[in-house]
Point group: C2
Chain length 438, copies 2
Amino acid sequence: MTDATHDPARRSWVPGADRHTDFPIQNLPFGIFSPNGSDRRGGVAIGDWIFDLREACAAGLFNGVADDAALAAAGPTLNAFVALGTAHRRALRHALSFLLDSKGEGRACTEKLAEKLLHKAESCTLHLPCAIGDYTDFYAGIHHATNVGTLLRPDSPLMPNYKYLPVGYHGRASSVRVSGPAVRRPNGQRKRPEEAEPSFGPSRSLDYELELGFWIGPGNALGQPIPIARATDHLVGLCLLNDWSARDVQGWEYQPLGPFLAKSFHTTISPWIVTAEALEPFRTSAMARAAGDPAPLPHLADPADQDEGGFDIALDVLIQSAAMRAANRAPHRLATSNARHLYWTASQMIAHHASAGCNLTAGDLLGSGTISGPTHEECGSLLELTRGGREPVTLPGGETRRFLEDGDEITLTARCTRDGAVPIGFGPCRGLISAAPP
Amino acid sequence: MTDATHDPARRSWVPGADRHTDFPIQNLPFGIFSPNGSDRRGGVAIGDWIFDLREACAAGLFNGVADDAALAAAGPTLNAFVALGTAHRRALRHALSFLLDSKGEGRACTEKLAEKLLHKAESCTLHLPCAIGDYTDFYAGIHHATNVGTLLRPDSPLMPNYKYLPVGYHGRASSVRVSGPAVRRPNGQRKRPEEAEPSFGPSRSLDYELELGFWIGPGNALGQPIPIARATDHLVGLCLLNDWSARDVQGWEYQPLGPFLAKSFHTTISPWIVTAEALEPFRTSAMARAAGDPAPLPHLADPADQDEGGFDIALDVLIQSAAMRAANRAPHRLATSNARHLYWTASQMIAHHASAGCNLTAGDLLGSGTISGPTHEECGSLLELTRGGREPVTLPGGETRRFLEDGDEITLTARCTRDGAVPIGFGPCRGLISAAPP
C-alpha cells in the first residue's frame, strides 16, 4: 500500500521540515488557514510552515487531476476537495511531495516562489477544515465502554448490542471548533443523588474524552448504503477530537434519548486532516475478537478490513493547570493510549452509518468514541482515571483533580511510529477551561 | 399581538386565494421553489400560487427593510433571510400583504406583473427552505412519552427528568427532505426477544411520528445562552415533521446513547415555513401543570411564555395504502391531535438548547417530539395506536396494520382555526413507503 510519498529517504527543502516534526514530507496534511489576517484558503502543513494551495494554483504548479484537486482545496473550506474522493487527493499528494522534495525536479520552480507559497505557521490562524454537515460520535473504545459501564452496572458493563454494531449517536456540528479557543464551562441542570430536585448552574464534573475524528468524503445518496468493502473510499483522513463532557449534566439528562447538552457546548479537534494516504504505513489489523465474541454480521464483515482496518496511532493526554503554568511546570501526562484499542474500525463505522440508508456527505465528521486502553494508565477520560471522581489524581505541585477546574488546559497529541517509516503526528488538540457564564 | 396582516376582512386579488385554502393572505408562508425546472428561489404561498420573491425584487416592488429581507430571500436557500430576524421578516410580511391585498394601493402595480410574479404551485418543485445546519428532536409530547414509557415501564412511564427539562437529542440533518419523495424502508439490525442473535434486514416495524418543526433564526454565539424571555426572537416559524422510526432497529440499538439509524434514514417536513407572525392569532397558553408538577427552574420560566407560549394547531394523520389507492378509497384518518398537548413550549426548547452554551444557527430545525393527545384517538404514532403492535388498526377495505407496509402513504396536516381569525394551514407533509434496498 505504500508508495514513493512514504519513502523514508525523502526530505524536504523547506527549512526545518525534517524528522523532528509532526509534519515531515511524508505527512502532508490538509487544512484551512488564514495567513496574517487574510482570507481563508487551503494549505498543507510542512514542518513549521504552511504551503499555500491557492497561491500554488495561481502559480500554475499543478496539472490535470492534481490541479483540479488543488483548485477545489483553494478555500474557504475543503468540502469541495474532500468530495472529489481518493484519486484526486492522492494525485495532489504526489504532486506536493514532488514539489517539496529536496532532490526532486519540482524543487527549482517551487523554491524560488517560497516567499509566496510558504507561511510561518505561527503567523497563521487555523480554521475548521470543512463546514461540518453532520457530526456523529461513536462509542467504539471497548475499554472505555467497559470502564464506564462498570461504574453504572458492575455485573454487565457492556450492553447486549455492543459487540454486534458500532454504537453511536448524532452529535452537534455547530459547536465543533479547532484547537485553541477557550472552552467555556457549561451551565446545566444537575442533581446529586441526595438532592430532591435538580438545580441549574456550572457543571461540577467537567471532563475531556480522548478520541479520533474521521473526516468523510465523498459520501452516499440517501437510501444507498455503502458496502463495507467500499467504505475506505469515503475516509478522507483523521484528526484528534476532544469530546468535552459535563458528567453531572449528562447523568441527569441522558435518559432515554442519549447525551445532549452535556456534550454539545463545545467539541475541540486538531485542525489538520492527516490523510488516509499518509496513514497507510501505520495501518494495522482490526482488534482481535476474544473467544466467544460474535463474528460481525455480513454487512460489517470484510477480510481486508480485518487485516488492515486498524490504525497504530499512539495517543497522549496532557494537563497543565493555572498553578502549573504560573510555576512554569511543563504539562503533565495524564494518560497514554493507542487507536489499536478500538473495537470497531473506521470502515465498520462508515458502513454501519449508511446501512439503513442515511446519507453521509462530504465534510461530515465521525468521532471514534473515547479510546482507553486495557490498563488504568490508558484511561481516556477523568471519569475513568478517577473512578467516577472517587480517586483523585495528583498533579505535579500537589494539586489534585477529580474533574477539570477553570484554568486547566488539556492537550491531546498523536504520534505514528513504525520501523522503516518516518514518524508523523497530528499537531495538538488543545483547549483551556474558562469560567461558566454568569 | 395581531395587526392588519391578520385582518379577516382582507382578501387577495390572486385568483382562488380565498378562505378555502391553507394559504390565504393572512398566512403568507415562506419557502424555496423552482418554477418549471428553473433555479431555486424564495417564494410565498398564496392560494394555489407561489409568489416569486426574486422576480418581485427585480421589479422593485419593495423598499427599505422589506427590500433587504426580500433580497436575502431570493435564494437558493432562506438561511440569509431567517438570519435577519423578526423585524425584517415582519416588514416583508407587511409589504407582501399590501401588494397582494385586493383593496390595497399595491394591487395596481403588482397585478399587472402577475404573469412574472405568480407561478401555479402544481408546476413548481418545492425544496428545503433552509440548508439545515443542525437538526434537534425533542420529546415534549407528554402523552406520547407516557404512552411509550408505559409500554416499557408500566409503573414509572416518565423518567425523573421529564418535567424538569425538555428532553431532546441531536438528530440527522442530511436526511431531512420535504414532502413528496418516497421513503425507503431501512435495513437494520433487529432482534426479537426470543432470538439469540440479531439479524440484518428490512425493518419489520416501520412507524411515523406526528411532530411539528420549529425553524430557528438568527441564533446565538457559542457560549452565549438565550434567555427565555428572548427566545421568541429566534423562532422563525413552524412546519409539520414526520419523524419516521424503525421501532425494531431502535429497540436494539438505542442503549445507552439514544436513537441513531432507527431515525436517520429519512425525516419528512412540510415545505413552507408558517411564520411566527402568521401564527400570532393561534397562540395559546402553555400546557397547564398538574398538581404536584414541579415549577420550571428559573432559566425555563417566563410568565409571558406561560400565558401565550403554546400553539392551538389541530393536527391529523392520514393513511392511504396501495390497496386503498387501487380501489380509489380516500385517505383514512388514523389520528387527530393538537399542538396544545406539548408539555414544553418552543421558547423553553430554544432556551434550554442554548442554556449550556450550544450555539443555534440560522436554519437549524427543532422537532417537537410526537404530539399525542390524552385519548387513544389522539395517538401520534402506530406504536401507541396499536399498543406496541399488539392491537392492529383496521383500514377501510378491511386491511389491518400493526406497523407500516410498503406502499402505504402517510400524510400529516395542520389547521389553525379561531373565532375572529381566518383559518390557515401548513400544506401537506407526505411520504410513501417504498421497499428496502436489496
